[in-house]
């Protein structure tokens, strides 16, 4: 019975979306239904994490086919942690969407699409089959692109086109990688594949010629998913133009799919070649931290600045994965969870301020001084900014501390120095943003409109940031357990293949 639990976080949003579409004439019922479905799915994912924490990985074979022939769903500690993080943030996104004034949130397709986005992301985390990963990633991309295309911002379709085109291209890359791996090993099951690659690397025979190709193609796919630097160009446009509740999700949890992919690639699929991948990740991470920070400095729009800041924060996570020691992996997971909380809250706050401006836009010129009459949101934004820059007592500080500590322990001084210096850039762009919105006097006659998006969701998230900053112990313990689990790929293989 327990093994069915891994199905629920995928099935509930998926059926919830289908049933929600049938309710398209009754918007209020549809909203309540969607909120209920996502809430139930979040509870199921927490239960999944609880069971995984107590009894080890939960594996479910779809249709009862034995592995490696059928599709396997694997709820291991990493996947369950990512699912709880993603669905927790998505619940706050839904709360924001319920209280926001965007016209697109009143379209009958909005909430069903939000649920398919959830199902796609959750499925991609939980699947143990690379072709299934492709299917769920496509579901995620389709719903994300449509949600952006229907945005109130008139640039929505342009941004959605860019994103969708690049993502389809990345999906083709993943499909080629799947083909290459299938040619070489004749299996699609991740555990089986990992075992065969490991065994193949110990043989005297040379590795299959398409293995390197598959590694590069899959790496590129996850780079596009996480918007890592050479493939980042769609991300700031996309996250600026999409409606606030959606952009807060895209910039926080959806980019974590790539992080998850890199973790799986270096600790499970390509363990014998992990050193090469890790070296690449460190370089990409440092470039991302520097480039993202500098690009965020030069923006004229609050949402766009936060989108660029995501590039930098993903860079920190990649450096953590690149160092690859248990401590560094734990730090990367803490950073990933923290960044999701912080970035979702910050984007919601930026969107909530923009919704109170005369023209709905987060451009700094449009919202200068608007914050004078919104002191509570200012306090929240300041706390979020502190978390983003890594200043105690927020969770951002815990994450950065863990990362730097693991760098010192691992004697990674050059890369540590690089990201240490680059992390100061965060303060340089976030403080002027706060000053522009809340400190500078507004132009003559400019006033915040009464009403606007409700700020319950960002308040919840910032509260959680503070809580995890003061009481970091549970998250740190969880991350340490995950990194211990990741350190032993044979346990994953044994759990899935039942040996």
């Amino acid at each position: 019975m327990d093994s069915h639990l891994v199905l629920l976080p995928i099935i509930i949003p998926l059926t919830g979306a289908a049933a929600g579409l049938l309710l398209w004439r009754r918007l209020r019922v549809q909203r309540a239904w969607s909120a209920g479905a996502l809430g139930a799915s979040f509870i199921a994912s927490i239960a999944l994490l609880g069971i995984v924490w107590q009894r080890g990985p939960v594996v479910f074979q779809l249709g009862g086919w034995p592995p490696p022939f059928g599709i396997t769903l694997v709820g291991d500690l990493l996947a369950a942690t990512m699912v709880v993080m993603a669905q927790g943030i998505l619940v706050t996104g839904l709360i924001y969407a319920l209280g926001c004034r965007d016209k697109c949130a009143t379209y009958p397709a909005f909430f069903p699409l939000f649920l398919t986005l959830t199902a796609g992301l959750t499925g991609a985390f939980l699947t143990g089959d690379i072709f299934n990963l492709f299917v769920f990633a496509e579901l995620l991309v389709l719903s994300g692109a449509v949600l952006t295309a229907i945005s109130d911002d008139r640039h929505g379709p342009e941004a959605a086109y860019k994103y969708f085109f690049i993502s389809l291209f990345a999906a083709i890359f993943l499909l080629s990688a799947i083909g290459s791996l299938y040619v070489s090993y004749g299996t699609l099951n991740m555990a089986d594949l990992a075992e065969r690659i490991l065994r193949g690397s110990q043989d005297a025979a040379p590795a299959p010629p398409l293995l390197g190709m598959a590694m590069v193609l899959m790496f590129v796919f996850f780079m596009v998913k996480s918007a890592v630097v050479p493939f980042h160009f769609w991300q700031p446009d996309f996250h600026t133009a999409s409606p606030t509740p959606v952009s807060a999700m895209l910039s926080s949890v959806v980019v974590k799919l790539g992080v998850y992919g890199f973790l799986r690639m270096t600790t499970l699929l390509f363990v014998p070649y992990a050193a090469t991948l890790r070296g690449l990740l460190i370089v990409l991470g440092i470039v991302g931290v520097v480039f993202g920070g500098l690009a965020a400095l030069g923006t004229h729009n609050a949402k766009r600045m936060l989108a660029y800041s995501t590039l930098a924060q993903i860079g920190f996570i990649l450096v953590g994965i690149g160092w690859g020691t248990p401590l560094a992996l734990a730090a990367a997971i803490v950073l990933a969870v923290n960044h999701s909380l912080i970035k979702a809250a910050m984007l919601m706050l930026a969107g909530a301020v923009a919704s109170r401006a005369q023209v709905k836009s987060a451009a700094f010129a449009n919202i200068t001084g608007l914050g004078k009459s919104l002191p509570f949101m200012g306090a929240l934004f300041l706390l979020g900014a502190m978390a983003l820059a890594g200043i105690p007592p927020t969770n951002g500080f815990i994450g950065k501390l863990a990362l730097f500590q693991s760098g010192v322990v691992g004697r990674e001084y050059p890369s540590l120095a690089a990201i240490g210096v680059a992390s100061i850039i965060t303060v340089v762009y976030i403080v002027p943003a706060f000053r522009t919105i809340w400190w500078v006097s507004p132009a003559e006659g400019v006033k915040a409109k009464p009403g606007g998006d409700r700020i319950l969701a960002p308040a919840l998230l910032i509260g959680l940031c503070l809580l995890l900053g003061v009481w970091a112990e549970p998250l740190l313990r969880l991350a340490n357990h995950v990194s211990v689990w990741l350190g032993d790929p044979s346990a994953y293989i044994a759990a899935v293949l039942g040996k």
Binding site: V141, Y161, F164, I172, L175, I178, T299
Partner: protein, 110 residues
């Protein structure tokens, strides 16, 4: 026969890449479709080399594999959904900006 198939896939991929690099969004959308079909063909070809043996077979006498056909079917359905969304977006863009030139559909600079 395998050589011919490989050349066909390679040529399709090449045409697709060339079309993707064009400035017109319509042409690049068509290029994407051609590339995705080239990859589908590649997937299909992994099931049976020389018409009989699966690509990864090591022992003699192993039979061809039907799984890639199921994969390709799924990939075709997904690419159909994706491509219809791409066409819809191209339609919206080309009417809204009254051009299909990707250099002129660039208002999201700041």
């Amino acid at each position: 026969m395998d050589i011919l198939k490989a050349f066909a896939i390679g040529t399709m991929f090449g045409i697709g890449v060339f079309q993707i690099l064009r400035r017109s969004v319509i042409r690049s959308a068509i290029g994407l479709l051609i590339i995705s079909n080239a990859v589908n063909l590649f997937l299909l070809s992994t099931g049976a080399y020389q018409g009989a043996v699966a690509a990864y077979a090591q022992a003699a006498g192993q039979r061809s594999d039907a799984l890639p056909q199921a994969l390709v079917l799924t990939a075709i359905v997904i690419s159909m959904a994706g491509f219809s969304l791409v066409l819809a977006l191209v339609y919206v863009l080309s009417t809204r900006y009254s051009t299909a030139d990707s250099d002129e559909i660039a208002e999201l600079k700041h």
